[in-house]
Every structure is written in C-alpha cells, then in structure tokens.
Symmetry: C2
Subunit: 363 residues, 2 copies
C-alpha cells in the first residue's frame, strides 16, 4: 500500500506558523506510529495571489483532488481587502470546498475544562459544552446564481441567490443524522422556514430524512432563535444541522461561547473516493489573525486538533487521534497557555512553537 | 389639531396580554398628560388568519397606512406551522413592514442594571451594555425575487434571492449614521463582503454615505465575526448597521446577551408622512411565546418600552418617553419581577397585569 497523502496549505497570516507545529506531529506519527505520509505543500489565499495572481492555481486544485486529505491553515488579511472579488483570498478556499464537493462541514464547539473560565459566558452555562454544528458547505447563497453587482436604472444592485436542491439538503442532513446516531441521538435543524422558501424545503427534507433515523429526536428551530438559544443555554443542543450562511454565523458564535476559539478544529467532508476515504479538508475554525501573525503568539492547538480529526475521519486512526487530543489536554492541564488563552495580560504565555513542542513531548 | 392616531395589533400568543398593559399606559397619558390618542384595534397574524383566512386583511393594511403609528404585539405559533407559506402569521407582519416601507428597524440591546446577573454572560461583559442594531427591514432575502419551491429534474429546489439596490442600502445607512451622530459617533457595518457581492455593494455604499458624516468613525466587520464579537466583547460596539437577514440573527443574539429579552423594544421607521411624522411600527423584540400565553406570565415591559419609543420617535414626546422608562426602572429597582426575570425558579413572580399596574403607579 502506498503511503497516505496529505496536501498542506498553510495560507496566510498565522497559517504558516500553526501549520509548522502540525508538521511536528506529522513527523512524530511517522517516527513512532509507522504512519508515514506523503506530504506536499502549496499556496492558497493571499500568498497564492501574490505569487500567481490567483488565490488557488489549477495545479494546486488538481493536487487537492488527488490526495487523501488536505490540511489548511487560514486565508485572508487586510492587505487583500481591495482586491477584486474574483481573486480575493477567500475565493481559493471556496473553490476547494466547491470543487472537492465538501458538503458536510463538522464544527465541534467544545469547552475545555481548563479554559471554562476564559469564556465570556458564565462557567456553568458553558462548562462541559460539547456540541457539533454540521454546516452545509457547497451550496446556498455562497454559490447560487445569478450573483454579482449590476447596473439598473442608474444605480447599482447587489445580487446573490440562495438555492438549495433537495439532494443537497438530503446529503448533509444524512451526515448530521449519522453523527447524531454516534452521539446522543438528538439533532436540531435550523432555518428560517417562516420567511424563506428555501427554509421551508430544508425543513421538509430534514423531516423526510429523519424517517430513516427513527431513534434520533429531530427538532426544528428558526435560525434567529437558534442564535439566541446558543447564547442562552447552549447545552440544550447536541448536533445542529444548518445551511451554509446560517452555519457560518452560528458556528462562529458557538465557537466563541467556549472561550477556546484558538482550540477549535473543523472537518469538511465530501463523498467517498475510490479508496473508501471521504474527500476531506481539515482546518481550524479561527481565521488568519493578521494582527498577530509572525510574532509566535498564535495558538497552534486548533490546527493540531484539525489534524487529529484527519487521523480519525480520513485515516481510520481513532487511537492516534485520541493520543493527540490527550496530549493537548495534558499540556493544558500542566498550565501551558498561548497568549490568546491568557486574557488582556498575556504574561507567562508560551510561544506557538513552545506549545507545539510541549504537545509532541506529551505524546 | 386632531388627536394622534394609533393602530393596535396585539396579534398572537402573549401579544394580547402584553398589549393590555400598554393600554393602561396609553390611558394614563390621556388622563394625565393631555395626550389623547384615537385608538383602533385589529387583528394580525394567526388570529387574523383564523377569522379572515389571511394574516392581514387589506382593510387592516389600509388603516396601518393612515395612522400615525402602529403598535404590534407578536405573531405566530405552532398551531400555524403547517399553514401554507403564503398565509403564515409572519406574512402579515412582513406585509406591514414592506407596504409601509419601514426600512430602518432600530433594536436597542440594553442591559438593565437590575438584571445584569440574569444574563448568561458574565456581569462585567454585559453590565452597562447599551448598543443599537439598525437592521434593514424591507429588502434583502426576505423579499427578493425569484423565490419559491420549484421542480427541476425530478427534485424540488428552494430558491430565495438577496437583492439590494444602492438606494436601499443608502437610506438605512443614513439612518444609522444619524443615530450614531446622536450617540457616541461610532458605527460598525456588518456584511459578508468576502463571500457575497451584495455585501461588497453594502460595504461600498456604507463607505460612501460615511463621507457625509466625517465625525462618525465607521468600521466594517464580516457578519460571522460580528456574531463572535457580540458574544466576546459586546461593549466594543455602539451602533451597528446590517442587512435584513444578518440583522435578524445578530439582533436576537444581542438581545439575549442582555438577559432582558422580555424587556427589549424595537422601532421600525420609514419615510416621513405629510404631517412630518415617520411611518412607524413599534413592537417588542420577543416573540409570541405560545408556551406561556394566557397564563399571566408574560413580561409586558418590552411592549411598554416599545410604546415609549413611539412617544419619542412618532409623537415628539421625549419627556413622556423618559417618564415611562423611568417608571420601568423604578419598579425593577423595587424588586418586581415577572417570571422570565426569575430563572428556573420563578416563585415570587408578579403577573403581567400586576407589572403593568405597578408601572402605571410609578408614573
Ligand atoms: C473565510 C470565509 C470565506 C469563510 C466562510 O465564510 O465560510 C470562513 O468565515 C469560514 O467560516 O470558514
Ligand atoms: C417573525 C419573523 C418574521 C421576524 C423576522 O424574521 O424578521 C422576527 O424574527 C423578527 O426578527 O422580527
């Protein structure tokens, strides 16, 4: 059997720094667990635009389609704010999601015990929180046509289209139900069926898919109420499934609840490839944080835990995933903190690479 | 001069109960401040559907166009969940907003000192919070065409369209800048310009309008980051302006931060009428809460404070508005609480009408 293959796309801002720490874990897996990866590395986002005039070259796209999993750092930054829409750093990421057809984005919002006090929410509201938002990632208003800015009667008009087919809704709901079956068998679907017809269809299809999972308790909630309830009492949820745009806002809000934004990984999964592995891209939930880039302040844990998700979902190495997650918990229990986990103060912070080294040591 | 006119639409769920308390304040104004209103009352939402087969009759719509201000309670309830989309309770409210052209929805998220501990957020994160979200209310994906559920190649497809003209963005941004001028001269505009062209146009127009308000410090934020920042550090904001759908989620999240959902009013304002008053509808931020309807548990304060906003924005009675707001603060300081302000427990709660009476007494 050939080695499993990884494409690493560190991207912009703190992306390269945090990915360098993931490299240490990858090497450790090769040295100690016989899990040797064929790794290629390439550009995505602003840095790809700087070099090639596009946030993702066709060659990189082709490579992403071939490998067993893609690891991405982060894209974007103020430097690229005035770029034309079509070549913005984000377009590189969106192209990957779309062309790899990564329809199910799993975003755990987990509150690490050692960090519960760091949340802006009261400890008892978030302690022990462990929910997953399954966000549709390849359709909806992110990709619908027609779109653009047109001239009409002497003024500009901005247009985007939310468009969901039944099968698009069905497959992501199915992923969410499967996940719910492995967890506490509770799924909440969120949309605005009271206002949007695409939400009406979403609710219908979610209900229909639910018939195949009679054990799962399915509920529906309007997304605005969802935003409220996540703030009010997040532990009422277990798995949430929602569309691309609502998922964008709701998962960010949920991540922030935990106080552990620098800790949260995500997996974006598509259909199985010939070798049985799903098409997959793993990335931290946090962004490129250009304000702290290059200063050794970034927290590499979200990116390292994203790699742990890759071990679990792409490489069937649940044990190794647990080992990495355990090592992260161990260093946190030792009191190690990067600057983001120390509030305004931030003295005693370890650097990005000290944190990475400590996690390797704990392994 | 004829008496100023009010159309009262109590609506569904707890709407009628809370509106009954507003009536007491209205009467008090007539008896004590020489402010006598011509009041008509009518149906909207599910109750209108029950009686007329439509959530808003043409006659009610006509009356709403004629009066100086509309006061609305709340619409909707599970009883109506299976109604056809076109006659859902919410369509009544949406028709009012659209046909009255109420483009600027002002949603204050204010944390009442007496209630700061009731928030799920830490006291110091929310104490003293006083922000206003200005939400565009007559366009965007709520109203854009094409929309609907169509059949395509053997499956259903749900479609909605986000469509913003330059002038629609301009007028709501102008309202937000005007408000910012009266407050701390800080305005944050939220969209997804990194993903949606309608957001690109939004950002451009907000920037252009900002040239007329050089004193206002304008910033831009992606709406997902906005959802995060509202949870992380809400006091960094003062006035926020955003589109209809983002405004729906973000204002609900912001309202929940304060722990005072039963306390928060809103004003929806349009262009000035012939008499100089703006077209206006006032309603609480909370919904129809069917689970507690008819039990005397509802908190009437949000609806009463909505009437205070009417006094201020429609009737130029800032002093009387302050008097009502002061009376609300006084009864809270006395320790009066409706059930929603007492957590799980809820003993010692006063009823809806006891709260209303106490506020009248405090006046
Ligand atoms: C970077 C951006 C395009 C992206 C999105 O909007 O999906 C990000 O916010 C995310 O949630 O992954
Ligand atoms: C009731 C519903 C149509 C409405 C909306 O989505 O605008 C409500 O959520 C609101 O925010 O006023």
């Amino acid at each position: 059997m050939p080695n499993p293959s990884l494409l690493i796309l560190p991207g912009d801002g703190i992306g390269p720094e945090v990915m360098a720490e993931v490299r240490k874990i990858i090497d450790w897996m090769g040295d100690n667990r016989g899990l040797v990866f064929d790794v290629t590395e390439d550009l995505v986002g602003g840095c790809a635009y700087d070099k090639h005039g596009t946030p993702l070259t066709d060659a990189t796209m082709e490579q992403a389609q071939k490998v067993d999993a893609v690891l991405l750092g982060a894209v974007g930054g103020p430097k690229y704010d005035d770029l034309d829409f079509s070549v913005k750093p984000e377009r590189g990421l969106l192209r990957l999601r779309k062309e790899m057809d990564l329809f199910a984005n799993l975003r755990p919002a987990q509150c690490f015990d050692a960090l519960a006090d760091f949340s802006s929410l009261k400890r008892d509201v978030v302690a022990g929180l462990d929910i997953v938002i399954v966000r549709e990632l390849t359709s909806g208003i992110y990709f619908g046509e027609p779109r653009g800015i047109i001239e009409e009667g002497n003024e500009r008009v901005g247009i985007n289209t939310q468009r969901y087919t039944e099968s698009e809704i069905e497959r992501v709901c199915r992923s969410a139900f499967e996940l719910a079956m492995k967890r506490s068998k509770k799924l909440c679907s969120m949309e605005k069926a009271n206002v949007m017809e695409s939400g009406v269809l979403w609710r219908q299809v979610a209900t229909e898919v639910g018939r195949d999972y009679p054990e799962v308790e399915l509920s529906h909630m309007y997304a605005d109420n969802g935003a409220m309830q996540l703030v009010r009492k997040p532990k009422q949820f277990d798995v949430i499934v929602t569309d691309n745009l609502f998922g964008d806002l709701l998962s960010d809000a949920a991540a922030m609840l935990t106080g552990s934004l620098g800790m949260l990984p995500s997996a974006s999964l598509g259909a199985p490839m010939e070798n049985g592995r799903p098409k997959a891209l793993y990335e931290p939930v946090h962004g490129s944080a250009p304000d702290i880039a290059g200063q050794g302040k970034a927290n590499p844990i979200a990116c390292i835990l994203s790699f742990a998700m890759a071990l679990r979902y792409s490489f069937d190495r649940g044990d190794d995933a647990l080992a990495v997650e355990g090592a992260v918990e161990a260093v946190l229990a030792q009191g190690l903190r990067t600057a983001d986990l120390l509030g305004e103060d931030g003295t005693d912070a370890v650097t990005t690479s000290e944190m990475g080294d400590a996690i390797v040591a704990a392994l």
